[in-house]
């Protein structure tokens, strides 16, 4: 009887020890993993930092203007090109009905903002 209990306890101790060792080993591996990841994050952050500087350098307004002149046909926006939502005719059918009915053509021929001699 006593022998049985002793053997049981002994087995339990060995089992726990082995389990503990296993868990500890796994934690160690995970910690190494974490450290590696942290280092990688730091390296990435540094790379992002450098890329940000490069991005800013490549997006200098002076350079963008030069590239735009060379490759695009864009000109600075003038006030004439900007109108408010109120300046738009409300619905197409009203425009058509006004166009077909010359007596009510007032709304269809609105002048755009700022145009004039």
């Amino acid at each position: 009887m006593i022998r049985g209990i002793t053997v049981l306890w002994f087995g339990l101790v060995v089992g726990l020890g082995a389990g503990l060792f296993q868990v500890k080993h796994e934690v160690q591996l995970l910690e190494q993993d974490l450290q590696r990841l942290n280092r990688a994050i730091l390296a990435d952050q540094e790379a992002i930092h450098v890329l940000q500087a490069e991005w800013t350098y490549l997006n200098r307004p002076e350079r963008l203007a030069r590239l735009s002149r060379r490759h695009l046909e864009l000109a600075p926006l003038t006030a004439v090109q900007i109108i408010t939502i109120d300046d738009l005719p409300l619905r197409l059918d009203t425009v058509i009905s006004e166009a077909t009915n010359p007596t009510a053509a007032g709304g269809a021929t609105r002048t755009v903002h700022g145009v004039g001699p």
């Binding site: 930092h49 203007a65 006030a79």
Partner: protein, 581 residues
């Protein structure tokens, strides 16, 4: 020998008999020892019992009253985030203006370098900018550490590594980098090789930048800065000016969106810059501004109530005071009303208006506008205005039209903002306010006077000297200024400082623009004129036309009755009502 007992033989030495006098004493001692022993046992037992009790209670506590499971949140050692030696500087939209880049710096341990001669030759081949003789001397020195070259590029580092010379090492260093180069050189400033701020914001915020992890956010807008700089550069080239300054300021907060000073320099190579290029004309340079000061004179006269827009002064003859003669640039030789004085830019009228207010009143008014003390900008290079002392009557008269008091363009911008924004002076700043937490500002002018000034400024662009500053849709109002520069001790004819100050949209001003050209020369396109109206006003117009859509100013139709009504000025020449604009 007697035997006292059958079991064992007595030792040869006599032992004291129990029960004798000596026995009693011994008995007492033993008892005492027993007593002590028992006490100690009880004490130790109690201690153990207590400890077990505590452990037991804690067990119960942990098992029953605390959460029974493992903590759900495992606190991993947080990844340390990247920290540079010096924080970035960014513009109001987060565009990087200054940042630190990691570089490698090459140093040597001369004792470990085998063959200094060959090593120096190889290094000079890999890094051509190194002086071979100097490297040779350094590698031959007895010291344990010599710098060979700071801040190598990755390519250079690779080249050195490829040489495989023992005794050479790299140290990780950081180098300040300005991606926008010259764009905001005076404002941002620069640092030395050890990243200590030497100029501009870099110097003013040196300590803060070294301690901070987040970027420093300036009020600057890179796009507006670029537009203003480009237009100024164009004007400098066109009119052969020796320099120029320009400012765009938010009229309602005092934030500077752009501050340009030409000529400028590359902050990545500050050592190559001439002193003239390093000089910040916008914040450090003080200038006699000329006629733009008539804005303040007129506002002051209207505010103090000595005149109304219907009053005026006789500007027929030049004023002679002491050895000075005050005359008009384009004399009208008649009585002029206040709006006429403003848009004909009459020096005589302005001087008389200032005299009507008086020197003390003028001084107090200009001081409230911040024109008599250095602007509170976040720069170490801020110009202190040159204020006449004593403030004589002749000072009052000349300052009325912008001579005799020299101020910086930055002060000018802030003062104009106060005049047009409804009368509230905000301290000019280079650091972005968080939304809605700017300083409250100080009332320096009544809303009514400010409103009248806006009408006058608009009138000047519609009919007066500032016509070239008009931009369709953006309702510009402004005033020209042309001052003769003092060369040596005298004002020199033909050596001018031409400027234009503007605000837009003038019915509800959001931005103030100040442009100043130093010694422009007239050319054919301006019929030989180099006055503010000919050379500075077009710069303002082009800058506003380009920046207004970017900063979100909505164009308005200038011909609607409401706008015409809001901008109306009645001009009443004496006796008859002639025109109204």
């Amino acid at each position: 020998m007697t035997r006292s007992g059958p079991h064992r033989s007595r030792p040869p030495h006599p032992i004291p008999e129990i029960g004798g006098a000596a026995g009693l004493r011994l008995d007492g001692l033993a008892k005492q020892a027993l007593e002590t022993g028992r006490n100690r046992l009880v004490f130790a037992g109690a201690l153990f019992a207590l400890t077990f009790l505590v452990v037991g209670l804690r067990l119960i506590d942990v098992a029953l009253f605390k959460e029974g499971h493992e903590p759900t949140l495992v606190r991993a050692p947080a990844a340390e985030s990247l920290r540079m030696e010096r924080a970035d500087i960014v513009d109001r939209n987060g565009v990087v203006l200054a940042t630190n880049l990691v570089t490698a710096s090459l140093y040597a341990h001369p004792g470990k370098v085998l063959g200094a001669e060959e090593a120096a030759a190889a290094l000079a081949r890999a890094l051509p900018e190194l002086n071979q003789a100097e490297v040779r001397a350094r590698l031959g020195s007895a010291r344990a550490f010599v710098w060979l070259k700071r801040n190598l590029t990755p390519r250079q580092q690779y080249a050195v590594n490829r040489l495989g010379i023992p005794g050479l090492y790299f140290r990780r260093e950081e180098k300040r980098f300005y991606p926008h180069g010259r764009l905001a050189s005076h404002l941002v400033g620069f640092t030395d090789i050890d990243n200590v701020g030497l100029a501009g914001v870099e110097r003013y915020f040196d300590d803060a930048l070294r301690g901070a992890s987040g970027p420093l956010r300036l009020s600057l807008d890179v796009r507006v800065q670029h537009i203003l700089r480009e237009e100024l550069m164009r004007a400098v080239g066109e009119f052969q000016a020796v320099g120029a300054a320009g400012i765009v300021m938010n009229a309602r907060t005092g934030e500077m969106l752009a501050m340009v000073s030409l000529p400028d320099f590359d902050p990545n190579r500050p050592a190559l810059a001439r002193d003239d290029a390093r000089f910040n004309r916008a914040a450090l340079g003080v200038y006699e501004m000329g006629s733009t000061f008539k804005i303040f004179t007129t506002a002051m006269a209207l505010e103090s109530g000595v005149v109304t827009l219907n009053d005026g002064y006789d500007a027929t003859d030049p004023i002679r005071v002491a050895r000075f003669v005050i005359r008009d640039f384009k004399p009208q030789r008649r009585w002029l009303s206040v709006p006429e004085i403003f848009f004909y830019s009459s020096n005589i009228g302005a001087a008389k208006m200032a005299l009507a207010v008086g020197g003390a009143g003028q001084r107090a008014f200009l001081d409230r506008l911040g024109l008599l003390r250095a602007a509170p900008l976040e720069l170490t290079e801020v110009g202190v205005p040159m204020v006449p002392s004593p403030w004589r009557e002749i000072s009052t008269m000349t300052i009325a039209y912008g001579h005799g008091l020299a101020v910086t363009p930055a002060q000018m911008a802030a003062a104009i903002a106060a005049v047009v924004n409804g009368g509230i002076a905000y301290p000019p700043t280079l650091v972005r306010h968080h939304d809605g937490d700017g300083p409250a500002g100080e009332r320096v002018l009544s809303a009514r006077t400010s409103e009248q000034m806006r009408r006058l400024l608009r009138l000047n662009v519609v009919k007066g000297t500032g016509r070239k500053a008009a931009v369709p849709g953006y309702l510009v109002g402004g005033k020209t200024g042309t001052a003769e520069k003092i060369v040596g001790r005298r004002y020199r004819r033909g050596v001018r400082l031409s400027s234009f100050v503007a605000a837009f949209p003038i019915n509800e001003p959001r931005y103030v623009v100040v442009v100043l050209l130093d010694e422009p020369k007239g050319n054919e396109s301006t019929h030989g004129y180099a006055t503010g109206g000919w050379v500075a006003a077009p710069v303002v117009a082009r800058a506003i036309a380009r920046m207004a859509p970017l900063v979100g100013v909505e164009p308005i139709n200038e011909d609607t009755p409401e706008i015409r009504e809001a901008m109306l000025v009645n001009i009443k020449p004496r006796g008859r009502e002639l025109a109204s604009f």
